[in-house]
Symmetry: C2
Subunit: 512 residues, 2 copies
């Protein structure tokens, strides 16, 4: 057979070469992304504050280098060249998924002019200090111009894309790929209709959780948090836990997972944020080694990421089987505070549900309404039904309507979250979508591992961790999040299991 250049048999080596070139470029892009995470982690945990000025430059450089590499026309050319290969491959293969996800990322990135990208990044960076000041002084007027600029930039961002059902869909797609606003609206309406009466019912229930405040020495909380993460499990020498103002999870690779927590010396709180961040960290830790160096080694969406943190925090970490196993150890560490508190009271206390002002301090039941409120406000803004200057008033009205609480000031109202200041518009919904999915996933694990609760009561987590690895984490970003969910649990997102779980757990007084 002739081996001349025109021979079709020669397309195979050429394809292999193009694929190798593409993955090599993608690996650089992924490494730059990991570097950016590491720089952010370092800034929030270890950097001397004076380093902030350089750090902003370094972060901007790393992001610019990643963006330049992604929008390089050579990526477009390689993707064109690889289209026939992609079509011939098993769509579930790593190579097919790598090409598919690269195409999605490339096509989104090239639509946004560099000037707009840079202006959005700059606006976000400049907004955060102003947000901090506005929040500290409860001064919405100070924050309003920032808010207007960020929303205006997002409108310009939306204009870069083909119209969808609703402009907001384009924002949502960055956090929850392929999710539609209409779908979120439908799910959230279903949740709201059930939660509002459930919350009203809980309002006057008296539950004692006073023992959760008191003397909880930080060194022993640190011991506890390390024991929890060890108990839940990971490969040796691959994780660290550090204290920060706000807990978060980060990683510089599947074997370099970094979670943080916040210690209050007078309250037992850090353990729950540690379990939450463990869930995020485990997702990043269990991407397959085969593609750990590529952009598909990322969560399928913010919502799915949140499903993992919520699962460990709530479905494990606020469950009776878990505390049957672990409570004696906690009593041992804090004998003064908890020695006289029996398991039943402790379990009821950590599951106390009560409407409050602050989203990040909300319990399992009321949390959803905080998210729904924010999503609805974002919708109203983009649909022209709400002016930004009227946000505080509308916020207060909705807090009253949904949770029955009165907002005393904007610091504890519309200024409490940094998301809008940081330009993360379209993000909030993923918190509740994730929580909903966490229950769907949990029920499927229970089906596949029928003695799961008994295992947890014995402090065994291998089966749970492995189930999540095989059914969720192993896909990375190969598929859109709803496809990952469908492969894991058999259906796409559905609020019913979540609502049934809440009603079962909270419909009657929570007791052990």
């Amino acid at each position: 057979m002739s081996r001349s250049g025109a021979d079709p048999v020669d397309t195979l080596p050429a394809m292999a070469d193009a694929l190798q070139q593409l993955t090599s470029r993608l690996a650089d892009i992924h490494s730059l992304d990991m570097l950016s995470w590491l720089l952010d982690w370092d800034q929030r945990t270890t950097m001397p504050v004076g380093g902030g000025a350089h750090r902003a430059d370094h972060l901007a450089l790393v992001e610019r280098l990643g963006h330049e590499r992604l929008i390089d026309p050579e990526i477009g050319r390689l993707l064109d060249e690889l289209a026939p290969l992609e079509a011939s491959l098993d769509p579930d293969s790593t190579d097919a998924a790598t090409i598919r996800v690269a195409r999605r990322d490339y096509e989104k990135a090239v639509r946004v002019p560099s000037e707009l990208s840079e202006e959005m990044a700059r606006a976000a960076a400049e907004s955060v200090p102003l947000w901090l000041e506005a929040k500290a002084t409860s001064n919405f007027e100070l924050f309003l111009p920032v808010l207007e600029r960020n929303f205006e930039l997002r409108r310009r961002y939306i204009d870069c894309f083909e119209p969808r059902d609703e402009p907001y869909d384009i924002l949502l797609d960055d956090f929850e790929p392929e999710m539609r606003s209409a779908e979120v609206t439908r799910i959230f309406a279903e949740i709201r209709d059930e939660l509002v009466p459930l919350i009203a019912q809980l309002r006057d229930r008296e539950i004692d959780d006073s023992f959760l405040t008191g003397d909880f020495p930080v060194d022993r909380q640190i011991t506890l948090d390390h024991e929890i993460v060890e108990l839940f499990g990971h490969r040796p020498d691959t994780w660290r836990i550090d204290p920060t103002e706000h807990p978060f999870a980060s990683c510089a690779g599947i074997d370099d997972i970094r979670i943080t927590t916040h210690y209050y010396p007078d309250a037992l709180k850090s353990i729950f944020s540690t379990m939450h961040e463990y869930g995020h960290g485990l997702y990043q830790h269990q991407f397959p080694r085969e593609f750990a160096h590529l952009p598909i080694a990322s969560a399928a969406s913010y919502g799915l990421h949140e499903s993992q943190s919520r699962l460990w925090e709530n479905l494990v970490g606020r469950s009776l089987p878990f505390w049957r196993f672990f409570y004696p150890r906690v009593q041992e560490l804090f004998p003064e505070a908890l020695g006289g508190v029996e398991l039943e009271r402790f379990y009821a206390g950590i599951n106390k549900a009560q409407p409050s002002l602050i989203r990040i301090e909300a319990d399992e039941v009321t949390y959803g309404m905080h998210v729904i409120l924010r999503f609805e406000l974002e919708q109203d803004i983009f649909n022209g039904r709400l002016e930004l200057r009227d946000l505080p008033q509308r916020w207060a009205e909705k807090m009253h309507e949904y949770l029955g609480v009165e907002v005393p000031d904007d610091a504890r109202g519309v200024l409490q979250d940094m998301h809008w200041g940081a330009g993360h518009i379209g993000y909030f919904a993923t918190y509740l979508l994730g929580t909903v999915m966490s229950v769907q996933i949990w029920e499927k694990v229970l089906e596949d591992v029928p003695d799961l609760e008994e295992q947890i009561e014995r402090g065994e987590f291998t089966a749970l961790r492995t189930w999540l690895e095989v059914n969720v984490h192993a896909h990375g970003r190969k598929y859109p999040p709803q496809e990952v969910l469908r492969r894991a649990v058999g259906t796409t997102i559905d609020a019913k299991p979540y609502l049934a779980y809440l009603k079962k757990k909270y419909g009657a007084p929570v007791t052990a």
Copy 2:
């Protein structure tokens, strides 16, 4: 006046634009360099060991990106375009120095083929684990092939450049720009001739330093080290100290200085390495803000860097005025170990000079001979007078000749340092050159600040810090190291002050 393109008046805006383009590219290169330092710091202090595999990729990427940017032909074009501007500028100006140093870096970098650069980096990365194993098992045979590969690669590196007086000059230039082997040989011969008899004289002197081993709780050593760094001085919120296996100094910018130290719970040693690393850190901390984002914000040479660390460690940190001030505090922190040891005995103990096997544990007097030995061996190898396989034997002979000690095994001999394994051939000399320069600088400070010792006795370091800033640090890498030294002290390198200092301090028994 016509403003057409051909008019000479238009060259000024064009020049300004070219300079702006060059500095913008140089700022990226410098940021990548800072990132590489940060990644290295993180790896050695905080990274979970499992992260090592990703980290090697990330470090290689950052170095590749920096190198690609430096050898970009556009840099060469901009440097050509800027030649007339450079000639017209005050050579001491930041702009002139920026162009000059960029030209030096560019012209060196483009001479080395990328394949050779990559092979040297890969060989170094692959050698270090083998060196660790060879050292742990005292197995020189295991290390020999690595050594041969590294030296062979350096020979190929030398061949990339125009011949100089000696091939070794080309290696030296990477660590000590413009220094010649012949000059080092001359200085080291002068030192050797004085040190060998001085060391012989010290060999049988009995000095009690037994109180420096004992119970030195690590938490109090940490307190002590933080107090020392605070006392010596820096801008608030710009430094951190962490424990590591081997002490080092790093930085991610002038306001993000990170030094490390090693704590032995049974010995008071960390304080001296902390003072040493403080000196390195202060150099990086005091580069002028005006050019802190550019490559000229670096030490003029490894030797000058070492002059700063040695100055704080030895000329301040092992001096009587300093301990008159600080010893009471150390006694307060370690009352059991030092409460009964008067200042005179302590001072004599920390200045005990005694030949030993390990360079990094050597005292002020014998240290120089460890360096001279290594430099002479490197010279012999490059001049064909020594085969690599004969290194252990020659090492033992020289240790006997210079220090009167017998080398019991290669782990405590030729395998003790990682430099040759890491491809740092031509580096060792800078340790002693720096020590020599530290004394020249110290004498000049004493001349300009006549009451310096009284200030130190009162715990005041501002005048010293400021002198170093103005006369050394402010230049960054604007000039070659000998020009920096000449501007600071009036002469280039001269071993006489160093030898006089040692003979004065150690010629007679050291007493307070």
